[in-house]
Symmetry: C2
Subunit: 332 residues, 2 copies
């Protein structure tokens, strides 16, 4: 028994399509609304990736795939959905219009989850009739493979909504992280934006090419971050003397570059050209589809290889996701 | 035939000991100078980790391990070394004093490589007699497993030094990244410091605990960064429309948080207490040794699993490192 049986996706871009993949791979039927003429084609391309990925990720028998139905309106898509995922462009006015359409047709107890990566849920729910059932559930690309989903409630979101959402995302094999206070960009994207800002400086100042930055990440700290976060990594670096010692040692030493590195680069046409040109040189010989396949193969290898102390001795991350899923779906 | 046969390590902390591991695992003899009474004991603990790691990393026959000899002085340690690695504390005056001692006894054609993670090589070499052979070769912890090493020359470093260093680090199975212009913190640590600064804000403001931040990293973008860097990740996210499209879409959206996120948190006792306390709660049930073992097992799984488009079709990162090593060590 899965936590839900029927979901709706409003907006079938990369993130919406990723949600469709994760849902149907877990046996949930999905209705989709996206006004773009090529929406079905684009969704199908992502589903192709995710079917391939799950066939490699899961060695045992897989779920019977849920159905995907494209609808002509928001109203038709949400009519019988228990979970409604909004993945439309990042504009508050567009999102609020979509919520009005959703509320006109959805069951009042349906959960409404925005995929926004930055807008505050209190702003999203400002004009809603039943704001208590709206939350942000912010996933990471590719949604069908990465376990993280940030759950953020607004001022008027009920705790019952957060708890229900947590259960649903567990039942999709995900790792829901409840962000306790509303802030712009939540947790992960604040970190990512800091990296992005510094990366732009490095390229703009001619210190590094896009390839250099990418190599510095994937041959270095990226390998650490895949398996241990910021604080645990430094805890280990501090050695037996502990975290306090590490901070005492490392804190002052970091002071001077901090000040320098907090300027914001101007987002000029010239900078866009520089980055886009270098990126073409770096990876223009591959199609996006090829790059996605490389990425997914590697993520699968990592999910199969990683073992976490905190998710059951000897379990890999792939097995842990299955364990979450099974636990959530056990008839209680 | 390896690129070098004899190296010296000045400073046997976590980084120095990591260098010893990587060198002796590649058959190079190492002499060590560290004035601390427990230096040999601390180095031995790291060697224990690296021997275990290499036995799992390499399935075929391994190199005959190089020897480790502790010396009573810098002078004795460097006398017959072709590569001299300086891994002493991050203070310019201490490092300059060590270089003076090194220059008094080392061969004039020995390479001197600083492990500093932030000090400019031009400052390091300011008082040297033969400054042309000094460079920064900045590794990442654990040095015996992570392939990245940033090579940075100062104003008076010769290109021959950079080229020779590149060959040596290749011959250690590493990925040398030449940072073309000198800047504080080089490439990777600028990115890492940005992440660290944001992480401190998140905990200080009560948005997240250290555990939340770590989970946001390792269940989300950390898995991406292990196998694809910042720019390639966004290139894929932009889809067929390309990098220019991604930047046009994503650039303005990021503008507002940038401004907010560039403040620098004050490094108070209170903040140190908060972080250290949360870190204890998160991981205090494990010893540092246990955490290192978990980290290394996971890194080995990743190195065995990852395949890169740019390092030979079908090759894993572990195989790629071996390929670098073999190519560098082939009699040319």
């Amino acid at each position: 028994m899965t936590a839900i049986k029927q979901a709706a996706i409003i907006g079938g871009g990369v993130i919406g399509a990723g949600w469709i993949s994760r849902l149907i791979e877990n046996g949930i039927d999905v209705s989709v609304y996206d006004p773009a003429a090529d929406a079905a084609e684009k969704v199908e391309a992502v589903l192709g990736n995710s079917r391939y990925a799950y066939s490699k990720l899961i060695s045992g028998p897989r779920c019977i795939e849920g159905s995907v139905q494209f609808c002509d309106s928001v109203s038709a898509a949400v009519a019988s959905a228990e979970l409604i995922v909004e993945s439309v462009p990042e504009r508050l006015d567009i999102k609020q219009t979509v919520y009005a359409e959703i509320e006109a047709s959805a069951a009042t107890n349906a959960l409404i989850a925005s995929s926004t990566s930055g807008i505050m849920p209190s702003d999203l729910q400002a004009k809603m009739k039943h704001p208590e059932r709206l939350l942000v559930a912010h996933p990471f690309n590719p949604v069908y493979l990465l376990p993280l989903v940030e759950l953020v409630g607004g001022k008027r979101t009920s705790m019952a909504t957060i708890e229900r959402a947590r259960k649903i995302y567990h039942s999709l094999g995900m790792h829901p992280l409840h962000v306790k206070k509303e802030i712009e960009a939540f947790i992960a994207d604040r970190l990512l934006e800091a990296v992005w800002r510094e990366s732009l400086w490095l390229v703009k100042d001619g210190i590094a090419t896009t390839q250099d930055v990418d190599d510095a990440v994937r041959f270095g700290f990226g390998l650490r971050y895949a398996q241990m976060g910021v604080f645990d990594t430094y805890r280990v670096a501090g050695g037996e003397a502990g975290m306090r010692h590490f901070m005492a040692q490392f804190g002052p030493c970091l002071k001077w570059p901090w000040t320098k590195l907090t300027d914001v680069p101007e987002f000029t046409e010239e900078l866009v050209d520089l980055i886009a040109g270098q990126s073409d040189e770096q990876s223009g010989h591959m199609s996006i589809r090829e790059m996605e396949r490389i990425r997914d193969d590697n993520l699968i290898a990592i999910l199969h290889g990683l073992k976490g102390n905190d998710w059951g001795a000897g379990k890999t991350l792939a097995q842990y996701e299955h364990q979450l899923l099974q636990a959530a779906n056990d008839p209680a």
